[in-house]
């Protein structure tokens, strides 16, 4: 089949699969995984990576060779249980000496330290506004996290999370969310809104086109005037006003986009219906007394279907771009993770001053790819529906 030799169906299939399965494999996109604006892992090897040091009842010591500047975050969490009367501490030993991170007292409990806590800073002898990371990582070299106590603990589980300035495939955004996960989550929204809005528009357009073309007269006049009217107006401001007033959820967006993009389809279907209306087989049906809906549904619609399919496919990029535009303007539901939303946040929350291009490129290129794929597919369907086009394309 010719279709399978084109790139677009494969690209769309791959994206759709990634959008369906990806989020399940990679985890919650909203989760904050690393400091804001962490660079992609492959980008900058001089920035510190993300590391965990783990202590357990059996391993009371863990060490690492730190070859970078201070990490962006330092968080120690865990639980412990000590024998009666024992006392212990967790210490941090580096090339320049040793620090006590936490005193473990009583029979047991949990501990949670974070480099951002003021109490922690004060305990290290710093002012509340000084970052403790310079103190904890004065220079590259071997570092050791150790349990020191009068007796071994009955139970210990500690996790020291050193968050670096690097994360994952595509780094993190301004809140420390994984850009790759956000990108995967955005596939779903873009494709869903693009397809659903276009299908709605196709439904409306086909109905209007069939009715107008077949019935003619006042119905046709009114429908076509309405189409002209909507085509003469700037679309985005209308969508903005509607999204601003009606709400910004997924289904509202689909409805709004669908209601304002049926005009092209209506014109195409109408033209086709007009040309078919006079066809002998339709005249015969009419003479036989077939009801209007029967002629429309059983005979005109199937004739119009190939052209319709192409029109719908070619319409998807428009809907996707419109959704992305609204989301970029901040007029979509903030909980709706879409590519447009990612660009909105990149623009509004300092991705520029951070020079964080890795937040910008994935959603943008995602939109371009999906649109190009649908255009390619649409051209293919168009040629199928009307072979004459093939010779005109250069």
């Amino acid at each position: 089949m010719n279709l399978l030799r084109r790139w677009s169906p494969w690209a769309l299939l791959l994206l759709a699969l990634a959008g369906l399965i990806g989020p399940r494999l990679t985890g919650d996109a909203e989760e904050i995984v690393a400091p804001p604006f962490a660079r992609p892992l492959w980008l900058d090897r001089s920035a510190p990576p993300n590391r965990h040091l783990l202590l357990s009842t059996k391993d009371l010591e863990a060490s690492l060779d730190w070859q970078w500047g201070p990490p962006a975050g330092f968080a120690l969490t865990g639980t412990y249980r000590l024998p009666e009367g024992a006392s212990a501490r967790l210490s941090w030993t580096g090339p320049e000496g040793s620090l006590v991170l936490a005193e473990l007292t009583g029979a047991g409990g949990r501990f949670a330290l974070d480099g951002r806590d003021i109490a922690f800073r004060l305990r290290l002898g710093l002012s509340p506004f000084q970052s403790p990371l310079e103190r904890l990582f004065p220079e590259p070299g071997p570092y050791r996290l150790r349990y020191e106590g009068t007796t071994p603990p009955e139970e210990l589980a500690a996790d020291l999370h050193l968050s670096g300035g690097r994360w994952g495939l595509l780094g993190t955004d301004q809140r420390g969310r994984d850009v790759f996960r956000l990108f995967l989550a955005g596939i779903f929204v873009s494709l869903l809104i693009g397809l659903a809005a276009t299908l709605l528009a196709a439904l409306l357009g086909t109905t209007a086109g069939l009715l107008g073309g077949y019935l003619g007269g006042a119905v046709d006049g009114a429908l076509m005037r309405l189409a002209d009217l909507l085509l003469a107006l700037p679309l985005l401001p209308i969508l903005m006003v509607l999204a601003g007033l009606w709400g910004r959820g997924l289904w509202q967006l689909i409805l709004i986009l669908g209601l304002f993009s049926w005009m092209g389809t209506a014109r195409t279907v109408r033209a086709l219906t007009l040309s078919l209306r006079e066809a002998p087989f339709v005249e015969n049906l009419r003479a036989l007394g077939a009801p209007t809906w029967y002629i429309l549904g059983r005979h005109l619609l199937p004739e119009a279907l190939p052209v319709l399919l192409a029109t719908v496919t070619l319409g998807v990029p428009g809907a996707i771009l419109a959704e992305a535009g609204l989301a970029f303007l901040g007029l979509s539901d903030p909980r709706l993770l879409s590519w447009g939303r990612m660009l909105h946040e990149a623009h509004s929350f300092g991705a520029f001053t951070a020079g964080a291009w890795w937040i910008l490129l994935p959603p943008g290129l995602g939109i371009v790819t999906v649109c190009l794929a649908f255009l390619d597919l649409g051209r293919f369907l168009e040629e199928k529906a009307d072979p004459r086009l093939r010779e005109e394309t250069p």
Binding site: L233, I238, V241, L329, L343, H347
Partner: protein, 323 residues
Amino acid sequence: MTYWSRRLLGALTVLFFVLTLNFALFRLMPGDPVASLIDPRFSPESKEALRKAYGLDRPQAEQFLLYLKRTVTFDFGLSFISGRPVWQELRNRLPHTVALTGSALALSGLIGTFLGVTAARRRGGLLERATLTAGALSFSFPSFFLQLLLLLLLAVFWPLFPLRGSVSVPAPQGAALIADYLHHLALPVISLVLLSFGSWALYVRNLMVKILGSEPLFLARAKGLPESILLWRHAFRTALPPLLTLVLLSLPGLLSGAVITETVFSLHGVGRFLLESIQGQDYPAAGGAFYLLALVTVASNLLADAAYGMADPRIRFERERRR
């Protein structure tokens, strides 16, 4: 009915539709209609006074007529955010939006036409392939994505242009102000030109290829006319009327683009005013801005249509005969 009175009637219908939509959208929302027209922070007494002043105590039909009358005289009420008349705010911003879209349209039209004509003349060349690619890309490139990339490259990594605003703060005086304004306008205009010259070039190229292969051009070649006359006087003049139609068709999109462009570059203009009004639930301002954008579109449609008639004698003939 003459051609022009029909066209004018059509334009008025569009405007009437916009006004009705505006009226219905902002008033027939769930909840207290007053809440969407009068600043909720006002005291009950002043609310009551305003309610009277806006005629909100009258029946809907009468309100509609009153609304029509006010809108036609550009009385959109007071902005909730600034407290000043909406029209004053809009009038202040309109020239900036016109400067942005006008210069972008003119530049992309000129560049696109030149490239399209050249590509049509040298079929199969590198330029033609580049034109075709640029045209295809421009249909699937979100404007804001390109603009963000340009900002990142040319305002952050390599700071040739300012990152935001229509003028520097504090603004310079005299001639320096104009230079500063143009400096701020440059990147937005460049981005819009980059976004649209491709589709222009593509359209011009396709049109010119068709015309260059047509009978009149064959005869013009047989007449031994120099290449430049063939190309510009015969072929391009024939292509001009449909090109003007393209201007007509691209205007609504261009104004939509202005909203996004003004947002990305934080420019002072009607588009960003509309967005800020919607975000700030400043309904009188949003309604006014929306109406103004629609009005500009309709008016420029009429203008482009007039130009179309002037460029094509066949159309002029048709229009006069149909009187």
